[in-house]
Amino acid sequence: MTYSGGRMLLSSQREGQVSRFNVWVAILVPLAALLFQVYVPTFLHFLSFLEMPLLVVVYLGLMRRNPVSGLLVGAAVGLAQDAWSGTGSPLGMFGITKTLVGYFAASIGMKLDVDNVLMRFILAFFFYVFHQAFYWVMEHALLSQQSPFDLPGWLGLGVLNALVGVALFHFLDKLRVTAR
């Protein structure tokens, strides 16, 4: 399997690949990401900066190149993350945020060469910052909660998550079923 490495923009949608995944992959991968997000930081606190559900949603949205599919995946993963987060995050906070991330990722995936490593890094970094900023906006606007606007922290963690995301995306590429 070879990926185009010279261009980042596609001349037409027909140029982009539409990745397909088995059903068990589409279910187990987000589930594994959620379990990682819930349990791993409990034991390995230094890994709490990772936003594995977000990376999975971004990956699935980019690869499926279908906005409806991407927003539904984002909504499902986000609601499940809300449900596992207990009272700290009301139902819908992560759901709405990841719905938008999935939608925008799928929309951007139709325009960009998402197999490019640099592009993956940039997109992962961008969506992480977008995810954190939009969550902060919703906390202020909908829940009237006062949380700090830590943009430098978000940028730094965005880089870390983007690095992890590039590796994760490379691993998940092994699980897709490519069809042109």
Partner: protein, 428 residues
Amino acid sequence: MESFLNRYRNITVLLLVIFAQLVLLAVDAKNDQHVRFIRVWTVTLVSPLARLMEGMRGSSIGFVHNYITLHDSDAENRRLRAENDRLKLDKVFLTNELNRAENAKALQIFQQHTPSKTLAASVFSTGIASSRKVVYVDRGSSSGVMREMAVVTPDGIIGKVTAVYPTAAEVLLITDRMFAAGVVSGKTHAHGTLKGTGTSQCKVDSVAFEDKVDPGDWFYTSGDDRIFPRGMPVGVVKSVKPGQPYREITLDPSGMARGAPDDVLIVIEGVHQDIPDTPPANQQVYLAPPPPPLAEPVAGTEAAPADGSQPAAPAHPTPGTEADKARALYQKTADSEDIVLGGGATGQNIKRPPDFTKLPVDPRTVPQGRGAAPPAPGPAVVPPAVVPLQKKGTEAPIPTKSTAPATPPDAVRRANQAGGGPGGPPQL
């Protein structure tokens, strides 16, 4: 519609999913007051709309009610007019009550400080006949009112009682044509007769041509008529025209300056007073505090006699009332003859009565103007400045040592002449 949904399918699904999650979030989350956000958001969203709709509804109803239908404006207008009329009447009534209270207060002050004994009365009716200027007061014979009693106010004389009933009395006003009273000018002491003219003004007759009277001069009662005590204000001269043999003087009665008063004073027992040198000030009465008591007897004052009689008055003229001044004159005369007054009829030192013909003449008792009688020859009596009036038909009182008040020589003479009573000097 179907093509619209197909064209915007992605964004439509996105909005639906986000809206559903917003509802879920609103149901699940609570604010600080433990109120679910769906309730908070609903109320926050609906309240402005409801307020806007309520404002539009109220404005519409108000516009229709105030500018279109006007179904009850006429009745409300009539009601407001009636209420306004009633309030005006109430205001007039209260204003009259306030004026009445002020007049009553002025009467009370005047009654307290005038030496004459007076009786307050209220005017409750006026005479029916237009040719007569009479009023009726609510005091009659049961209150001690008799005919020919003077009726006054602090501003001046009002009239005299012409008829008495058990509970009312008829008062002939000074503006009536039948009214007459003796008056004297305050500046030149020119005597005359006040007469009503049937109008709001009066005239003063019998003022000789040679007597000087100017507009603005005040006239006071002279006491000659034995009805009004001397010294009460009558009015101010409005115009003076030369005439033969008398001047034609028009006078504005001060007591009737504001029309017939509602409250008056009936002089039950009049006391003559001096004619003021200055016009009466139409102001509230101010009483200065009493002077402090003397620490030691004034030089020239005799000590009290050993027999317990009254201490003698000081030899020099002392300030005080007219009675005090007269007493000082008597005492001075008695001292010059080495006679102790007040020792009683059985006093050991009374060998002869004092010669009161040697009394010094008080310039204020010298009558002036036309009609003033010269001092009586022979044994004369120099009385105090005030004396109670004796009503007609009653026996003139004989001043005694205990009653003290005496009458000026000319006043005594006129009183005796007018009343026809026994003459002669009163005994001391």
